[in-house]
């Protein structure tokens, strides 16, 4: 049982963090109308920044997480500026542009940070193992999980209990309608991509204790985020969270137990859900 | 004649002759138990709807009454949540729009869109998919019928709104439908176009069944022999055309929508 406990915990934490990132992706697509294929690159950028900024002290940890979020937001801003000129040209051109930026970004990240997997240096207090109810848990995983749960709860509360949250949900559902109530669409597009980038950077930073960050992070997290968005859909944050936890568990436990099948599992689930889905995905024409 | 309170759960029965309904079951289009809701809002709740070859059946009602939904359900572009639809005795509820079109159910659209990138003539050619080996005779004749012969070689996107409606009609007729569903064909038409529309509708063959969703009462008066009035998704009234048009409750319902229709005209 214990052999699966830590990977299980990892899976839930990883899943929740991916859910945060996937929320950013859905936001960008539904409200911003941009399929952001550079999303994984932003997650990886956040991860790299966090891994190199955190030197083992609590202030540096805080700085690392903040820096990652800011870098992600900045990346989102760059994407917003880049895609702004392509507004009239349709989804494909914007997606291809973000694709090109993702390729450039991946190259830059590997050039700057090297090709090894990086892990952050955490404060000594987090580098220990806690024993709860007779089972050992690494403190850093618990911290990441706690952070993920807090962020997800705040996110849910904001989305469903505040006026701003309702506006965001309305924009994701129908971008053009929102313009009708006086919201400037260009401001929405920029804000949405910046927020999406910030979420990606934050998620990337918090994922580093679990799986580290390396050259494979960007394409893997992009793909997983896409799977979560497709499987969970929006309109139901619980659905997305469930899908995300499923994805996280497959990536951690599944990779240990059925390594050959794990990738197919996720993609088959996505394919199956797409085949049986009745309602179109948010932001996409039926 | 008393008007039933529209929120009553019981369905107001159709006044159609059972013999006619039987005929429709064998040779026409019949829908039973149609219920369509959108996020807990009832859009359509119709226990039965039948049309036989040769019928000219109008569906009227204020905005939001469920008329377009009914048309979309019959055409197959909206999937029926509950209920059964049969055509010539065969159940077609699960069949998609393309299958139904090939079976003989044609339609026009409320907002006529053309095929971008194609000429007007090509659009009509596309309408008669199963006439691939036919000469251009049928498309050219249809263009002449709707008055677009001069535009045949021009890009379809250059057409005005009224001409697009005519093109949509030609495209629908090119499929040689046995049941034609018309979704507000008169909306936004100038008087000249309206006259032409009435002429065209008058030339439709006697064996064709036509279901007309319309706000414009002149078109309804000219074409329909049977009218169903929908309100809040349910049947408010139905009966022979002159009977329904004379009903005072229908006038009230329709006066609102007619005014709305006039206001909406450019």
């Amino acid at each position: 049982m214990d052999t699966y406990l830590i990977p299980g915990l990892d899976g839930i934490a990883y899943g929740l963090l991916l859910a945060i990132a996937a929320a950013g992706l859905t936001l960008a697509f539904g409200a911003g109308g941009v399929l952001n294929l550079a999303h994984g690159t932003l997650i990886a950028a956040g991860g790299y920044v966090a891994a190199t900024t955190s030197t083992g002290t609590w202030p540096s940890l805080a700085a690392a997480v903040t820096a990652a979020t800011v870098v992600g937001a900045a990346g989102g801003g760059v994407l917003a500026a880049a895609t702004a000129r392509l507004r009239g040209r349709g989804h494909l051109d914007q997606a291809l542009l973000t694709f090109g930026i993702a390729l450039i970004g991946a190259d830059l990240l590997t050039t700057v940070f090297g090709a090894d997997i990086r892990r952050p240096r955490l404060p000594a207090a987090l580098d220990t193992t806690l024993t709860i109810a007779g089972h050992p848990y690494p403190a850093d995983r618990l911290a990441a999980l706690t952070a993920a749960v807090i962020i997800t709860t705040i996110g849910y509360a904001v989305l469903h209990r505040t006026r701003a949250g309702r506006l965001i949900r309305a924009t994701v559902d129908d971008r053009h309608m929102v313009a009708g109530i006086g919201v400037n669409p260009r401001a929405v597009d920029t804000t949405v991509l910046v927020v999406s980038g910030a979420l990606a950077g934050l998620a990337g930073a918090l994922c580093t204790p679990i799986l580290g960050v390396g050259p494979a992070t960007a394409p893997t997290t992009l793909l997983l985020s896409l799977v979560i968005v497709v499987c969970g859909g929006l309109g139901s944050v619980p659905g997305a969270v469930v899908a995300a936890i499923g994805v996280g568990l497959v990536q951690t436990i599944g990779v240990i137990t059925i390594p050959a099948l794990a990738p197919y599992l996720l993609l088959s689930a996505m394919a199956l859900l797409l085949l049986t889905r009745r309602r179109p995905l948010p932001g996409m024409p039926g | 004649m008393t008007t039933r309170h529209v929120d009553a759960v019981d369905h107001i029965p159709s006044r159609r002759d059972p013999a006619d309904i039987g005929r429709a079951h064998d040779t026409g289009l019949v829908a039973t138990g149609l219920y369509h809701a959108h996020q807990r809002l009832t859009v359509l709740d119709l226990d039965s709807f039948a049309i036989a070859p040769g019928d000219r059946h109008a569906v009227i009602g204020p905005n939001g009454a469920g008329k377009s939904t009914l048309l979309n359900l019959l055409a197959g572009s909206t999937r029926a949540q509950t209920g059964t639809i049969t055509y010539q005795g065969q159940t077609i509820t699960r069949r998609g729009a393309a299958w139904r079109a090939r079976a003989g159910i044609g339609r026009t659209f409320q907002h006529p869109t053309v095929y971008p990138g194609l000429t007007v003539l090509d659009c009509v050619r596309m309408g008669g998919w199963h006439h691939r080996r036919n000469p251009d005779r049928v498309p050219l004749e249809l263009l002449e019928l709707v008055g677009l012969t001069g535009h045949a070689d021009y890009p379809a996107t250059t057409l005005s709104h009224g001409h697009r409606r005519m093109l949509d009609l030609a495209v629908a007729l090119a499929g040689q439908p046995r049941v034609l569903l018309l979704d507000e064909p008169a909306a936004g038409l100038t008087d000249t176009d309206l006259t032409r529309l009435l002429d065209i509708l008058g030339t439709l063959p006697g064996w064709m069944a036509v279901i007309l969703v319309e706000h414009h009462m002149d078109v309804v008066a000219a074409l329909a022999d049977w009218i169903t009035v929908l309100h809040h998704g349910r049947r408010h009234l139905d009966g022979p055309a002159d009977h329904v048009r004379a009903d005072p409750t229908v006038r009230t319902l329709h006066l609102d929508s007619a005014e709305a229709g006039h206001a909406a005209r450019p």
């Binding site: 399929l35 392509l86 390729l103 793909l223 | 393309a98 339609r107 971008p116």
Partner: protein
């Protein structure tokens, strides 16, 4: 009035493709004429060129942007490799088997992909590209794992002819296959040009007129899979080795880039663009090794910004501009017939 109306616009789409024959012919002639480096290098670019044709077909004609044609490409390549290593070395057999394998793979995947549109397809096809590499890596009996397959026997054109090992014959053979496959694609797409344009432009109206839209798109996708499979066979015939990396995401991205640069509605444009992109990449790889993704990404960004519609559309705009300039120079008014768009 029953006279048949003239249809001057009908052959426009084919006429658009004629300009590509010139650089294609020039490149091949030059390569075949020179020695050493060029014939082999150009020959090795042709499999990707044909893959780009396949991607352009699905992205342009079917309107489904795809990174997933590497799956039928891989199917064709590994079928060819296994046939050759099992002793069956006839090129026509390879080409047929590869095309069938590609069509079968694309047919299967198409059943999922063609139900969706636009960027959802791009997303799904990204997953397909990833899965292709994963499958190729894991299916060791077919693919040889991460090490791949090497020393694959050369094909024979006909029974009794010598194997195609020398650079110049391989180049001529690969060019012939690429040109033939591209020409076949162009002719088929032209024949159904009206149908495909209509279905892409207004799917709802087409369906309401009885057209089985999803079936049409599936047919295009499957046919493109046959082309991709053929490209896979060419990969083996020109390289005689293969690793899972050859049929993965990078290849898919290259093919899509070539299709975008060449113009998604122009299969021959995509082929030429593929050769161009690979040429640029090879030059860059010599000077800045290890930065191929950067170059590729920059090319993508540049292509999207500067060439909406690809080189084909740019050429069309150029021709229209030249025509306009010429027309404004003429003193007399234009005849009424010129009002029609070409």
């Amino acid at each position: 009035m029953t006279a048949r109306l003239p249809l001057p616009h009908r052959w426009d789409d084919l006429r658009r493709w004629v300009p590509w024959l010139l650089p294609l012919g020039a490149a091949t002639t030059l390569a075949a004429a020179s020695d050493g480096y060029w014939p082999a290098t150009v020959a090795r670019m042709l499999p990707l060129a044909l893959l780009a044709v396949s991607v352009a077909t699905v992205t342009g004609a079917a309107g489904l942007p795809t990174l997933g044609q590497v799956a039928p490409y891989a199917a064709g390549a590994y079928t060819t490799a296994r046939l050759a290593m099992a002793g069956h070395t006839l090129a026509p057999v390879h080409l047929t088997a590869a095309a069938l394998a590609g069509a079968f793979t694309a047919g299967l995947l198409g059943m999922l992909l063609v139900r969706h549109r636009g960027t959802v397809v791009l997303m799904l096809s990204l997953a397909v590209a990833e899965l292709t590499t994963i499958t190729a890596t894991q299916w060791r009996t077919v693919s040889g794992g991460t090490d791949g397959l090497a020393g694959i026997p050369a094909p024979h054109l006909l029974p009794g002819t010598p194997p195609l090992t020398a650079d110049r014959p391989v180049l001529l053979y690969a060019t012939a296959v690429t040109v033939a496959a591209t020409a076949a694609t162009m002719l088929l797409l032209h024949r159904h040009h009206l149908l495909l344009t209509a279905v892409r432009g207004n799917e709802t109206r087409a369906a309401a007129s009885g057209h089985p839209v999803t079936t049409y798109l599936w047919l295009v996708h499957t046919g493109a899979g046959a082309i991709a499979g053929t490209a896979g066979a060419l990969l083996i015939h020109t390289h005689r080795w293969i690793t899972p990396a050859d049929v993965g995401f990078d290849t898919a991205a290259l093919a899509l880039l070539a299709a975008v640069i060449g113009g998604t509605h122009s299969p021959p444009g995509a082929a030429v663009a593929a050769v161009l992109v690979l040429g640029v990449r090879d030059v860059a790889a010599a000077d800045w090794p290890g930065h191929a993704p950067l170059l590729l990404g920059a090319l993508f960004v540049a292509a999207v910004y500067l060439l909406p519609g690809g080189l084909t559309a740019a050429l069309t705009r150029l021709r229209a501009e030249i025509r306009r300039v010429r027309a404004t120079r003429r003193p007399e008014p234009l005849p009424a017939a010129s009002r029609r768009t070409s």
